[in-house]
């Protein structure tokens, strides 16, 4: 025991500090990450194996995707979506998946230009063909313009546009599911917030999968459901993946969401794994109560303009664009997506 302790603790001299260099739990080489909830330290090689394995396990465990299916991967160029694309590309042969990345240029000035540049670079590095759709080219307006002219917050407009385009792309291209880079640190704070505010239905929609309906509503899957934001970042760094390192000009990092996020961080620090257990129990409840499918489909109808899901006779995207641009842009987006797909062949 004494010998083991000596090898783990290295005294660096009276002018330095005592270092307890972490060793990989699998091979004993230098660790680059400590994972308290898994009680493991991992080196670069074993962390990549761990991360990709966790993504593959999540896909299988929650039945996100079946063998032979195609998946549209939403790639913004940020660390999370880049990690998702890389991990899914790595496990695709084992799971027999067809990965189809899509990037939406949102027109947020330099930030969007940088996101596009990074996405192209990542795609080259991973050897995948990423479809690109420019909002300005297709509908004639950017997110800031749509936001300003509609007097709606840019983040609300951005979320609406992205959800619409991703679903429309999946439907137009006949893809089985849409995968997004939401990890546990994105989802857990919102789940807890919804529970605190008494909206259990909204919390349960943050499950790993929300079912769809063929030709109308794409299934949405979250393969990063059981990995943390920090793990996504470390994975991207180790793999040498480029990712956008600047903040979105509209990002807001305050309010109740930030407080809940902080609370979960502190809680997980003192009780490692509690966040994961919380989200696993949420996923079990969503399965048990059959959320999303029954609720969502009962609530939805078809937009009279574009034919895609809507809570009333006009969907949110067509309503927004009709108000701002004078005509609903949903049908234009669907046509443009056909061209994007055709031009890549």
């Amino acid at each position: 025991m004494r010998m083991v302790m000596r090898s783990r603790f290295t005294r660096l001299g009276r002018l330095g500090e005592v270092s307890t260099v972490a060793k990989c739990s699998k091979c004993g080489s230098k660790a680059v990450i400590k994972i308290p909830y898994a009680r493991m330290n991992l080196c670069e090689m074993h962390f990549i194996e761990y991360f990709e394995g966790r993504v593959a396990t999540t896909v299988k465990k929650y039945d996100l995707l079946k063998e032979g299916e195609s998946v549209l991967v939403a790639v913004s160029g940020g660390k999370d979506s880049v990690a998702l694309l890389s991990a899914l590309t790595a496990v695709a042969p084992e799971l027999r998946l067809k990965v189809m990345p899509l990037h939406i240029h949102l027109g947020l000035g330099e930030y969007s230009d940088e996101s596009l540049r990074v996405t192209k670079e990542v795609s080259r590095k991973l050897g995948v063909n990423t479809f690109i759709l420019s909002l300005e080219e297709v509908v004639g307006a950017t997110i800031p313009e749509l936001s300003a002219k509609s007097s709606r917050p840019p983040c609300a407009v951005c979320g609406l546009v992205k959800r619409y385009v991703l679903n429309a792309a999946a439907i137009e291209w006949g893809v089985d599911a849409v995968a997004t880079g939401h990890h546990i640190d994105d989802l857990a704070p919102y789940a807890l917030k919804n529970i605190l505010l008494g909206d259990m239905g909204a919390a349960l929609k943050l499950a790993p999968v929300t079912t769809g309906e063929e030709g109308y509503l794409a299934r949405r899957v979250r393969p990063l459901y059981e990995v943390t934001e920090r793990e996504c970042l470390i994975y991207a760094i180790i793999k040498g993946l480029p990712f956008v390192k600047t903040l979105c000009p509209n990002v807001f990092l305050g309010g109740m969401d930030a407080l809940i996020r902080r609370f979960l961080y502190e809680l997980d620090l003192r009780h490692p794994g509690v966040k994961l257990r919380f989200m696993r129990s949420l996923a079990r409840m969503a399965t048990r109560y059959g959320v999303s499918q029954a609720r969502t489909q009962a609530e939805l109808t078809r937009c009279k303009y574009c034919g895609l899901p809507s809570r009333s006779d006009v969907c949110g995207f067509c309503r927004l664009t009709e108000r701002v641009l004078g005509s609903p842009a949903g049908p234009m987006v669907r046509e443009a997506l056909k061209d994007v797909r055709a031009s890549s062949h």
Binding site: L12, G13, L15, G16, E17, S19, T20, V21, A22, A31, V32, I33, K34, N41, E44, S76, G78, K79, D80, Y111, S115, D185, D186, E229, R230, L233, I234, I237, I238, G240, V244, K245, T246, L247, C248, N250, V251, L253, Y265, L269
Partner: protein, 70 residues
Amino acid sequence: MIVRVKIHPTKREVTIEKPGRKVVRVMTLLRELGYGVYEVVVVKGGRPLTEDDVVADGDEVEVYEVRSAG
């Protein structure tokens, strides 16, 4: 000792000085910068460091804040 730190995504650059020290643990560096261990990723030469690793005089490290950027 002097360690230069570049912080992402704010691109802030900070110099940490520890007179009389030859090395300093990453954990100490982070305390100095006001970060919790799991709030950031510290990278030296393209490789992530754990909180137990040390940085030496003249080292340049990058600190990535773990937060969604958009």
